[in-house]
Symmetry: C2
């Protein structure tokens, strides 16, 4: 049986969820990861050590690791006090390896060996860039860490983002996209984790040219000032614009009804339509697979209801494998 | 062929050298390690995180690790700037594992698995103690980190050291000493790495009672204010006093002539007789194996001569295995 080459494009928690599920299937995985993070532990390491952002890559490495539970937990351990407070151990680990190997990609390769990962994790770029956020009033705010917490962004809204300096994508990322049978975009924060990958020069072209089928895992929720009122159709349209071609073959979309009080909580914070909807069901250029994708409520003594609307790794991977056999055969 | 149980007692660089050589032989190694360090990276982690001192244990783990060169080098990597400046990555690694496992010994066990070590590393105690240094004028100075840099210590000299609070040795350490065929004391700083092990309650008794042969690897050099004018005989006498019984069966002593200019440099800093000598050769209660033990000069463009008087791991391990077959058969 042919082992399919799957490339994922994303970053952060979304990629962690996707890869954790996907690694249980007999496929070759290459995870291309956004490199725009500059907040928290990652931001401090960038500033103080001059390293590239380890956070997103770390999450993908842990997701694909076949090492012991202890080692995987260690990589996600956060220090709670002293000079190391707030640092994730795994971020320090990647930064030390980058310093030793004198390149981020080199450090990631060594980390991948130590963590015995299934597949590959490829930082989309190997350069030091900062995300520039252009608001609807043309003001520019620098730093990915502003996305979720800056009140101006939430009020005025984002027109576009760009990376400075503009850099070429890692050759390895381009190569893997070209050789892929299937490319999966998302899940992940639209501006925080998805778009930065398309801003690495060469990525849109390779997506236009690859023979791979392309699946988009549609976001579950919208963010105020970033993706207000985005529908499934709007996400697809925007991503096709980033690729500069109508390339998306299929979309995976959640059809499981979400708890009303949870929606209410999201709408209070992120505005109306903060749960992504489908606009209409007329024929489109892409298939839509609608299934239950959400992470079940973790009920207990302290937590009587679900507090986040998130993808479930098992359900998501199953849906992708279903779509793959439909698209690739 | 019987696989001998060897227990080493020491800490720091001395144990690193010994264990690096010893691990190449078919023996069971248990390294008992001093836990009094409170300087540098280790001291900061103790103060800020409330962890136990990782530095000495880290060096022993790296020495016994059968993992890749990269992983071993990573454990010794030191950050050069930012908030992590001066920290050894391996120390951070052990501190994170201690926090996760909620005990230092538990953390060391997990580290041993991750680093695939040959044998075992056992912290001599599992409690948080400070070294108290009593000077010849009865003044007490607290903190192991003072040993080498405190001018008062260098001038007035040490009468004795003790740990506060007084704690029992790890049961595992006692057990290993009881089951040992051979116990090796040293090499290592006398007050910094050797004596603290004997201050853990239960260690002297277990050494009095074990059927193991005991070898002492004699120090090569003395330190001002600490071991001024100590001879081989004096070291043995002092260690037997710590054990409270004449238990040392054999001593390994360097007979390789050391470069005169190097001796001069040491004497300038550490006083006369800073290279340890044998007082006389009359019959003693212990054997003395005299061989070349010193680390050869690393000559090069930038380093025209040897700058430290240190044991060589290969020569030391070979001498120990020779003595072992003489003593244990």
């Amino acid at each position: 049986m042919k082992k399919y080459n799957i490339v994922t494009i994303g970053g952060g928690t979304g990629s962690f969820t996707l890869l954790s599920g996907l690694k249980k299937y007999p496929v070759n995985i290459s995870a291309i990861v956004s490199m725009a993070d500059d907040g928290g532990s990652t931001g401090r390491l960038r500033d103080e050590l001059g390293v590239l952002p380890p956070g997103d890559v770390r999450q993908c490495l842990v997701a694909l690791s076949e090492e012991s539970k202890t080692l995987r937990e260690l990589m996600s351990y956060r220090f709670e006090n002293g000079g190391l407070e707030g640092h994730s151990f795994g971020n320090i680990f990647l930064s030390a390896l980058e310093k030793m190997e004198k390149s981020f990609s080199g450090g990631v390769k060594e980390a991948a060996k130590i963590l015995r990962i299934k597949g590959e994790v490829i930082p989309v770029i190997d350069g030091n860039v900062r995300m520039h956020i252009k608001l609807n009033n043309d003001k520019i705010i620098v730093g990915e860490n502003n996305l979720d917490k800056n009140e101006e962004i939430r009020k005025i809204g984002i027109k576009e983002i760009f990376l400075q300096p503009s850099v070429f994508a890692n050759k390895e990322a381009i190569k893997k996209i070209k050789e892929a049978d299937l490319v999966i975009i998302g899940p992940g924060d639209y501006f925080g984790s998805i778009v930065p990958n398309f801003l690495a020069r060469g990525i849109p072209k390779s997506l236009r040219e690859t023979k791979a089928k392309i699946i988009y895992v549609c976001n579950l929720t919208n963010k105020k000032g970033q993706t207000d009122n985005f529908s499934l159709e709007k996400y697809v349209e925007e991503i096709n614009k980033l690729i500069k071609k109508e390339r998306i073959d299929a979309v995976i979309f959640n059809n499981k009804k979400i708890n009303a009080s949870l929606i209410k909580r999201y709408e209070k914070r992120e505005g109306k339509n903060s749960v992504v909807k489908i606009e209409n069901k007329k024929v489109k250029n892409y298939k839509i697979l609608q299934v239950d994708l959400v992470n079940g409520a973790k009920k207990g003594l302290l937590c009587k209801e679900q507090s986040f609307i998130r993808h479930d790794s098992v359900k998501l991977a199953r849906a992708i494998m279903e779509l793959q056999s439909f698209l690739c055969n």
